[in-house]
């Protein structure tokens, strides 16, 4: 997925005509899905069974639907951060680590911050804020490295991701940190479950449809990020620095401030995604918490070609794909590897579609 043609995917295109732009990606996804089905048939799994399992896992039940959307929300937040930083020509591939540190901070505050008795929703708001701050700081490290010594942010955010993920591992391995007290040798390396007050409220209050407030929050943030990018001086500064840092500097726009703003905002969104995952779904912090969602969000950002609705569309696609894929694996015994192959196929055909659209428009 990292071998995609970045140059053409990241190119900023302010206005895109509708006709081929909508049709081609849909055809691309359908094409990839067909190949996927052919592959499933080839390994001897019943195609109708696999399709049924996929549909079941995505929209088959209120629970599946809510879980798929909650997953999409996480991808979208990381994707928004990617798009925002990319406007300043910065490539944030550190979503995974930002989710991890967000999860750590949210767990720590929810469990040991004495917040569960607080009124007005502060019980879950404070852990969320802690996660946002942790993610922002994680992103800011890469920004400072870039400003001070020119370290390429692709490398620094990626390496910081590894550090974040292993930091989380350490946190859940050590009882000094977040691991729950060991009562027997079989105690798993994970944190205690967070108190009920710190869990995110569900939209319906019904646990069979666990859609939490992350969805409306993300839609609001989509609007906010979209407005920042298109309507504010901040968005203009990001663009100026991204397109020509020298001219931006000469015109009095601070390169350092812009880079730090961009990467720490992207990190904050990643941290928020981590908080939503922990406070909204998982409730205990454990090894493998971030689940590769940071990278799925990154790909959603890449495929969106800089557009916020594009991020939402790609995130929904990936969210449902993931849910359906997991169910296909559990119910229809389609190997995980094949599910990943199909996802990769979709990404590649979409990237190809993007190139095609670009050529189409240039004709």
């Amino acid at each position: 997925m990292t071998a995609l043609n970045q140059e053409s995917l990241l190119a900023f295109r302010p206005a895109v005509s509708l006709r081929p732009t909508l049709l081609v990606p849909v055809l691309a996804v359908a094409f990839a899905a067909l190949i996927g089905l052919a592959l499933i048939a080839m390994i001897g799994v019943s195609v109708p069974d696999a399709v049924a399992a996929f549909v079941d896992g995505t929209i088959g039940s209120p629970y599946a639907l809510a879980a798929s959307i909650n997953r999409s929300v996480v991808f979208a937040l990381v994707g928004f951060g990617f798009v925002l930083a990319n406007r300043a020509n910065l490539t944030n591939v550190g979503g995974e680590g930002q989710i991890a540190v967000g999860g750590i901070a949210a767990t720590a505050v929810a469990l040991y911050g004495h917040v569960s008795g607080l009124p007005l929703g502060l019980a879950f708001i404070l852990p969320t804020i802690a996660a946002v701050i942790a993610g922002a700081l994680w992103g800011a490290i890469a920004a400072v490295l870039k400003v001070k010594s020119g370290t390429n942010e692709v490398i620094s955010t990626l390496l910081l991701s590894f550090i974040g993920v292993w930091l989380l591992y350490w946190c859940v391995q050590s009882t000094m940190l977040l691991r729950k007290p060991m009562t027997s040798s079989a105690t798993l390396p994970e944190s205690l479950e967070i108190p009920d007050e710190t869990k995110l409220p569900l939209l319906t209050g019904d646990y069979s449809f666990p859609l939490h407030i992350g969805l409306p929050l993300t839609l609001v943030l989509a609007l906010v990020v979209g407005v920042i990018l298109s309507r504010t001086i901040l968005g203009l500064r990001l663009r100026a620095v991204g397109l020509n840092p020298l001219a931006a500097k000469r015109a009095g726009i601070s390169y350092a401030r812009t880079v730090i703003f961009a990467l720490s905002t992207a990190g904050a969104l990643g941290g928020l995604a981590g908080a939503l995952m922990l406070l909204g779904e998982q409730y205990t912090l454990k090894d493998g918490f971030s689940s590769g969602y940071g990278f799925d969000g990154l790909v959603a950002g890449l495929l969106s070609r800089g557009s916020i609705p594009g991020v939402i569309a790609a995130s929904l696609l990936f969210g449902f794909m993931r849910s359906g894929g997991i169910n296909m694996e559990m119910v229809a015994a389609v190997p995980t590897a094949l599910v990943v192959v199909i996802q990769g196929l979709i990404v590649i055909t979409l990237a190809g579609a993007a190139l095609f659209i670009e050529k189409w428009e240039r004709r």
């Binding site: 309507r231 001086i233 203009l236 663009r239 397109l243 020509n244 001219a247 000469r250 015109a251 009095g252």
Partner: protein, 523 residues
Amino acid sequence: MGGTSSAPAEAEPLLSLSQVTKRFGSFTALSEVSIDLRPGEVHCILGENGAGKSTLCNVIFGVHRLDGGIMRYRGAPFHPAGPADALAQGIAMVHQHFSLVGDISVVDNVLLGRERGILNRRECARQLEKLAADYGLPLDPFARIDDLSVGERQRVEIVKCLIRDPQLFVLDEPTAVLLPDEIAALLDVCRRVAARGRAVVLVTHKLAEIKKVADRVSVLRGGRVVATSTEPANDIDALVRAMIQGSVETLDTSAASILGLETVKHVDHEPAKAKVEALQIDGLTVTDSQGVTRLDNFTLTVDCGEIVGVAGVEGNGQSELTAVLAGMMAPAGGRIYLGKTDLTGRTPKEITAAGVGIVPEDRHAVGCVVGMSLAENIYLNRLDEFTRFGFLRRTALEREAAVLMQRFDVRARGPGALFSSLSGGNQQKAVLAREITLPNLACLIAAQPTRGLDVGAVAAVYSHIRAACSRGVAILLVSSELDELLTVADRIVVLYRGRIMGSCAADPARREAIGAMMAGQPQ
């Protein structure tokens, strides 16, 4: 002295273009161009920027394919598949920009792309020395390119072509970066090549060069041949008229002087009444990242209402001087004052706020963001004035930008047009508009403000600079065009290897002295 060659005018053309058309998308760069290039002649192609001169060269050299018309080379239809094909058939070209590898020797550059396997450097060096003697192109075959001056590098480019003994020798604006005596030497080479029965094409927009070497001139305008002459020295006025589609009399005199038409001192601003020092540069020293001193103890004062020109061949410290003055680079020593305000080491923002306008030499690298709109670019340093609670007031921004567009005659589809869609001249006018309309402008530093502009745009840039000057703005004009400085500036200092070689009044009579100082000889 146009007719010194003895080539008969009726000689069979070596290369003939008939009805040649080249389009880029919807833009027609060449439209039904018919030109005959004859052996033994120097054929000058004259035209403003964007007239299609470079496209013509690239068509001949096989870089572009024709969209219409036909080329015949030695009587047979000619369709070069690419530059390599054109070279193999005896066509050589010196491009506007050098294509040399800096870290290796002259011989190795000449051998590049010519030899495979084992290099015979000694044989090549021997050939170079013979060429040097034949054409008067002295060169050390084993010198490293990076150690050569611009003029010497140009010679390497020429030798690279001549060593192939081309039948047709094309030079695309070769004199833009040369010293006056280097230009004379280059024109002499053109004459000698033609005298050997070869055809030479010289692309230029300088009339003085045409007077010296051309046997025949074709004038391009808007992709068409609009005039030809076989006696260019006598037809200069008509050629200029054809080139700019207007009369010489209406031309701004300084713009005319750039073309080599005349050099009349143009004074339309009052000399400063009372001398008020605006910009003071005291002992400014700049070292680059390798520790090489690029600007050495540069001291200069520019008074209010005075235009001081900085002359010099490019690469002698001008870039560093303007970068430091713009706050883009920290000096190693020295101080900069605007009036009584110390501007040394200040940020670009603070320098702009103090009232210093900067027109950078590299418009695309420092002056603008081509991916943003004209309105955003024309107020790039004052965008904060167009915000409310952090939101951009785009309507107000575009309205104000439209006012500036009108005042500075910036032609574009509208204030929302993408900056990259503007022509070079209009981009430059927009950058100038931004810098010259700073509310408290006290000093304007303009580096190569007319580079790459056509005559109309040049005249506009000069008139705006003069207008600012007559309002009492101190102006530092950095240019490698000596004619430009002689007509616009009041006083000239000459930079050579980072030092001030000398200074004098901007008097056309001092042209030779200034040229010598540019070459490093103190006067």
